[in-house]
């Protein structure tokens, strides 16, 4: 009986879809607050923006959560901690690099003691900004939703605005001084 049930669950019932649905609406991020981006994440989870509407529950322990939010500069000493935290998390697990420092070093570009996050752990979503707004953090989580669903890409397409009527006309090309001398 149990064998038949197992066959049914794996083949007939679309368990994979159910599993993805469950993961999608319970993204529990563990915070790695190393800089000021942690303040914005506090706003994200607060009553103003309330990211729990999308199932984002801020959590403290890495063993019970599935997303790691890297909020800030990662030094070489902290990179070992990041790797350790990442390896303790159960599958499936996702990484969000938040802010300019986590994405590419930011203010601490070319520093002797700073690493980029994607050289340590695989990053799923990047959030640009210094620091990013809470809306950007929520958008990153919705991008992660789409990635789990199998449709990666931005959730909101940027609206194209034609600004040419409001801009000054382009300058006319000047004749080259070299050509004048030759003439």
């Amino acid at each position: 009986m149990s064998q038949a049930l197992r066959e049914f669950l794996l083949k007939k019932a679309k368990l994979e879809k159910l599993f993805k649905w469950g993961v999608r609406w319970s993204l529990w991020p563990v915070h790695l607050v190393t800089s000021c981006c942690g303040v914005e994440v506090a706003h994200t989870s607060g009553p103003g923006f309330d990211a729990e509407r999308w199932g984002v529950l801020p959590f403290h322990t890495m063993r019970q959560s599935n997303v790691i939010l890297v909020e800030g500069t990662i030094t070489k000493k902290m990179a070992k901690v990041l790797k350790m935290v990442y390896e303790q998390m159960p599958e499936p697990k996702y990484v969000i690099a938040m802010g300019a420092c986590a994405v590419r070093g930011g203010l601490f570009w070319n520093s002797y003691h700073v690493v980029q996050v994607d050289t340590v752990v695989p990053v799923d979503v990047y959030i640009a900004g210094c620091p990013p707004t809470p809306e950007a953090v929520i958008r990153a989580f919705i991008m992660l939703h789409n990635k789990i669903k199998g449709q990666p890409g931005p959730y909101v397409e940027p609206t194209k605005v034609d600004l040419t009527p409001y801009l000054p006309p382009p300058p006319k090309p000047q004749p080259k001084p070299m050509a004048q001398q030759a003439g």
Binding site: T75, K76, K77, R104, W109, N110, S111, H113
Partner: protein
Amino acid sequence: MSAKIPPKCPPPADHPLLEKLKAALGDAILNHGVTPEGHLCLMVPPGKVREVATKLKELGFDHVLSLSAVDYMAEGKFLVTYVYASYLNPDLKNQLLHVRAEIPRNDPKIASIADIYPSADYDERECHEMFGIWFEGNPHMGKRFLLDPDCCIDEKTGKPLYPLRKDFKVPDWGLMG
């Protein structure tokens, strides 16, 4: 070298603390000046740093606010700067006292004042890591405190490199990282 080297001590001026300090320290003061913020600055010989620290503690300076170094690579010197301040003595309120000492760059050694002023301990350890200055008497010399143990080490010789020295080469990440 056409670059102008900044003076190691600001120009001298009158200061209310100066006579009191001259009476206490005597010939330990090589040179003195007043910074634009109005703080007194003293140059002392590097061998008398402990003696100066002991006398300043008797005068009422109860903590070392900061301890740092400046790398004068063209001259081959380090300038170690101690900033003394006081919480409790009302006469020394709003006063910062800069004490500076020059040491040679190829053999940077200076006596530790961590046993006289415990607040200077962490600063000495940081200064040792960043500039390679050996503070004789501090038990934590030769150990890593802030830097990663695998970072800033010369690959050929295995010796530590000091990242805030002027001749340290920062990693080149290129334009796009």
